[in-house]
């Protein structure tokens, strides 16, 4: 569906070099990375809004690298919504239709009504954007992007500046919208949880370089590098030292040529008595942070510090006190080998 080959571009000091990416038709794809990693630039270069220096972009098998944005059949929704303040909601939504052929405009009223029902914005049509809440603005921006039946929908940090309740609602609506319309969607976000909820595959980007691409669960469970591991919340990252070529975990192929290992905090078990896990250590509880629905326990062991996430059934364990000695461990299957 979308095939990006060897994409290189430069923007001031920022550069993206030889980036390859394939996104399937009807897929909900997420690009994640920290601020300044080049996510939005990548999105804008797909839309033709940022010129690229090298490489090619194909959409539906058609070469679009040199096409202007208005000929690519791609819609974009920005985090600030970028609604046109001098137009009412209805005018905002229908803006793109005036550039379409008469046959495309035929079903405009029907499309508008369908989107109004799907996004629950029927009562907002005569308002100006200044009179809309953050969630309403987001819905209007989505309707405006979708009314032109784009081949690809680009979402740039769609949940930024929304409060938690509205964010959850819009997230569910976006998921439903994708299920109904099946529009190929690329979402950019710095929050892995958003990607996890919505996307089927994820690309992690750092300083214009693709760090890892894969199914969302795979990246969550098996990040390939320390950067990706940190980004998806894998906290316990420690260097690997091999005793001999034939002993210890070095026997496991996946650990060869890796420098670090990581364990997700929720995979670590704790107990005041020895555990039956593949690996077990005896450490000291440094601090316990109560986060309401879970507790975060920091355990010191040798020169390392481990972070453990405990669910409510552990809350009443009398051994869980700051300063107390505790057994903790994890299984071999839960260890993730990492590159530097």
């Amino acid at each position: 569906m979308i095939e990006i080959k060897g994409l290189s571009l430069r923007l001031g000091k920022f550069k993206m070099e030889k980036l390859d990416l394939t996104i399937e038709a009807r897929e909900f794809f997420a690009i994640i990375g920290p601020t300044g990693s080049g996510k939005t630039v990548l999105l804008e270069s797909i839309a033709g809004l940022k010129p690229i220096e090298e490489g090619s972009i194909q959409i539906k098998g058609q070469e679009v690298t040199l096409l202007p944005p208005e000929q690519r059949h791609i819609s974009i929704c920005y985090q600030d919504r970028a609604l046109f303040p001098h137009m009412k909601v209805k005018e905002n939504i229908c803006y793109g239709l005036r550039f379409k052929s008469k046959s495309d405009q035929k079903n405009a009223v029907e499309k508008l009504n369908d989107l109004a029902v799907l996004l629950k914005i029927g009562n907002l049509m005569d308002r100006y954007p200044v009179n809309l809440s953050g969630g309403e603005k987001q819905r209007v921006a989505l309707a405006r992007a979708l009314i032109v039946n784009p081949d690809v929908l680009l979402l740039d940090e769609p949940f930024t500046a929304l409060d938690a309740t509205i964010k959850d609602t819009i997230e569910l609506e976006l998921k439903k919208l994708h299920q109904v319309l099946q529009t190929t969607t690329i979402m950019v976000t710095h929050d892995f949880r958003e990607a996890y909820h919505l996307a089927s595959r994820v690309a992690v980007i750092k300083d214009g370089t693709m760090m890892q691409v894969g199914p969302v669960a795979e990246i969550f469970e098996q990040p390939s590098s320390i950067f990706v591991a940190n980004f998806v919340g894998m906290k316990n990252i420690i260097p690997i030292s091999f005793l001999t070529e034939s002993k210890t975990a070095a026997n496991v192929d996946s650990f060869r040529k890796k420098d670090f290992l990581g364990v997700r905090p929720e995979k670590i078990q704790v107990s005041n008595s020895p555990l039956g896990t593949d690996f077990m250590m005896n450490g000291t509880i440094l601090r316990i942070k109560n986060a309401g629905i879970y507790r975060q326990v920091d355990i010191s062991y040798l020169q390392y510090q481990f972070q453990v996430i405990l669910t409510p059934n552990y809350y009443d364990d009398p051994a869980l006190l700051e300063g107390s000695k505790i057994y903790f461990g994890f299984d071999l299957a839960d260890i993730c080998p990492l590159e530097q």
Partner: protein, 263 residues
């Protein structure tokens, strides 16, 4: 002294500074009226020379403003949207006419338009008379007025998020359609404010114009000539008429420009 009292003292100081400023501007203008009588103003309205000079000022200032608009708005858009090496220098050059004395601006323009310069000779050879004509007046006015329009338009374009333009492009509008439907539609009131400032600057121009075109006489030159040759009493009626026309036009244009943009 509590915080409330302190802030009230600040407002008292602000209020008095406001009174001084408003008086400083309005008193000389209103006082001019007391120096003349309605009968003399009525007489001046029938003084063909005076009326011609006022209308010459108005239409040349309008043409200079329109020239500034058509040249300045595209350039302001470039300055608002693109970063390039030497941009600060370019912006400084645009504002040079604001900082140099206007007689100096007139001399500078004269060096280019006189037959001693290649450009002036080119005009002479093409039988285009500039010095001492309305064209010279418009050139002088545009020279001193254009920076105000460019600065206002640039500010206005900077306020319009490039992301709105991006969205418009992806929805099917080309660059020109996007400029008119989004960018200019959102910026026009500020640009109109800039045009008013430019027009006001053009109509009040004197220093550069007397160097390039003492004749035909624009209103400020006419008032100056009346003042130096006939005295204060002969200069004031034309001054009052010019003030009146300028204020009416200024208020109408300000009302047009000040209607709140939604958003």
């Amino acid at each position: 002294m509590n915080r409330k009292n302190k802030s009230e003292i600040l407002f008292v100081v602000s209020f008095f500074s406001g009174i001084i400023i408003i008086t400083f501007i309005l008193y000389p203008i209103l006082n001019t009226l007391s120096w003349t009588e309605p009968g003399i103003i009525w007489e001046s309205l029938h003084d063909k020379e005076a009326i011609n000079s006022i209308f010459l000022s108005i239409w040349t200032a309008t043409v200079a403003t329109l020239v500034s608009f058509f040249l300045g708005v595209p350039f302001a858009y470039l300055l608002a949207r693109k970063e390039f090496r030497g941009k600060n220098l370019v912006e400084s050059i645009v504002n040079i006419p604001v900082v140099i004395p206007h007689t100096v601006a007139g001399i500078c323009l004269l060096t280019v338009l006189s037959p001693h310069n290649w450009f002036g000779r080119l005009l002479v050879n093409a039988n285009i008379e500039v010095l001492g004509t309305e064209i010279a007046i418009i050139i002088a006015m545009a020279f001193v007025g254009m920076p105000f329009l460019i600065n206002s338009a640039k500010e206005a374009f900077t306020w319009v998020s490039p992301r709105m333009e991006n969205v418009s492009r992806t929805l099917g509008a080309n660059q020109v359609q996007t400029f008119f439907l989004i960018t200019f539609s959102l910026a026009w009131r500020e640009i109109l404010s800039g045009m008013i400032l430019t027009w006001a600057r053009c109509i009040s121009e004197f220093g550069a114009i007397i160097i390039l075109a003492y004749h035909p006489m624009i209103a400020p030159t006419f008032i100056y000539q009346r003042f130096t040759t006939h005295g204060m009493m002969y200069a004031i009626p034309v001054t009052v008429i010019l003030i009146g026309i300028c204020l009416v036009l200024f208020v109408v244009l300000r009302l047009l420009a000040s209607e709140k943009t939604r958003g």
